[in-house]
Symmetry: C2
Subunit: 192 residues, 2 copies
């Protein structure tokens, strides 16, 4: 199937849009302008997407009023976290792409599809023969790695570690052994 539209992978800031912020400090003007032009969004969270678009609007006026913009959350898994449960839930965006329209993909923070939902939407966009355009911006993983002083020539991102103390300890020992054996920096994620 041939869809002539584009899926723009749009980086969000890393602060979850809570406080006032001049987006120009953290985001290229070209990315802000591209976001301001979009009428359709596939997102992790609709509320943080609206907050993001308000910040965009303060720099580059949105091409249409915020309430007229089509903002849909990615299908959720059973855990209630936004993720791609099934390709079926992604059909509304297929219609837009088929009609030659552009769709933005946005996370609550950072780069979609990197330690965040969105990969299935991107994979389907490729399958639909839409053009996928990743835009440059902040990725917490890259920034953490760059600022760590650890080896950035060989590394793995392994997601979350278990909450249970014994399982957590075992997993951390396993990652330490992998790091030594492969000479590979291990990046993991933790929520407050």
């Amino acid at each position: 199937m041939s869809a002539n539209g584009r899926l723009l992978v749009v980086p969000n800031t890393l602060d979850f849009g809570a406080a006032p912020l001049d987006l120009r400090l953290l985001m290229p003007q070209g990315v802000i302008d591209a976001a301001a032009a979009l009428g359709h969004w596939a997102c992790e969270n609709a509320k943080t997407t609206r907050a993001f678009l308000k910040r965009v609007d303060a720099v580059t006026p949105l091409a249409q009023p915020l309430q007229a913009i089509d903002i849909r959350e990615l299908p959720r898994t059973g855990k209630g976290r936004a993720a791609e449960a099934s390709p079926a839930g992604l059909e509304p965006w297929l219609d837009v792409l088929r009609a030659g329209g552009d769709v933005g993909l946005l996370s609550e923070a950072g780069l979609p599809a990197v330690a965040d939902p969105g990969a299935l939407a991107v994979a389907l966009a490729h399958q639909w023969e839409a053009t996928v355009v990743p835009l440059p911006g902040a990725s917490a993983l890259s920034l953490a790695l760059a600022a760590s002083g650890l080896d950035g020539q060989s590394f793995a991102f392994v997601g979350y570690v278990p909450q249970d103390a014994a399982a957590r300890s075992a997993r951390l020992r396993e990652l330490e052994a992998t790091s030594r054996r492969l000479g590979q920096t291990q990046l993991l994620i933790e929520t407050p």
Copy 2:
């Protein structure tokens, strides 16, 4: 040892600075302004650093003339590639940081210390108790992963694969097996 200065990890564009480009399209104004203020650079390549600073100057005038800016390449390994051969070669920047000055760390393209030299300079900055500030920008690895549609919740960056056909084929089969066994996307790099 206590150094009061800051090491700013500055993202470069991904095009090696060859053609004319309005930096605002690809880089946050805040990052451009920070780069324009720096008088000392630790870089992978002095020539591409000067090209970068010319692009910065076109948006935000440099705080001092380009020829007055202290631009030094990271120590090279025997192979002639910029890398951190020894901590000794990093002492000029220690002096700047000790005096409370700021130093920028810059790659030829993308984010320093991520699939690029710079990690040892960052590690030493931590050891010297300087403040390390990573700035948001394009990373080829993150953009490739985000645009791939492959799993971005679990991935590894494994660097280059061998040039020799047999060794290359063996390494690719090994990476494929690792990918299957761990459910882990494998990112590798290739030069034209």
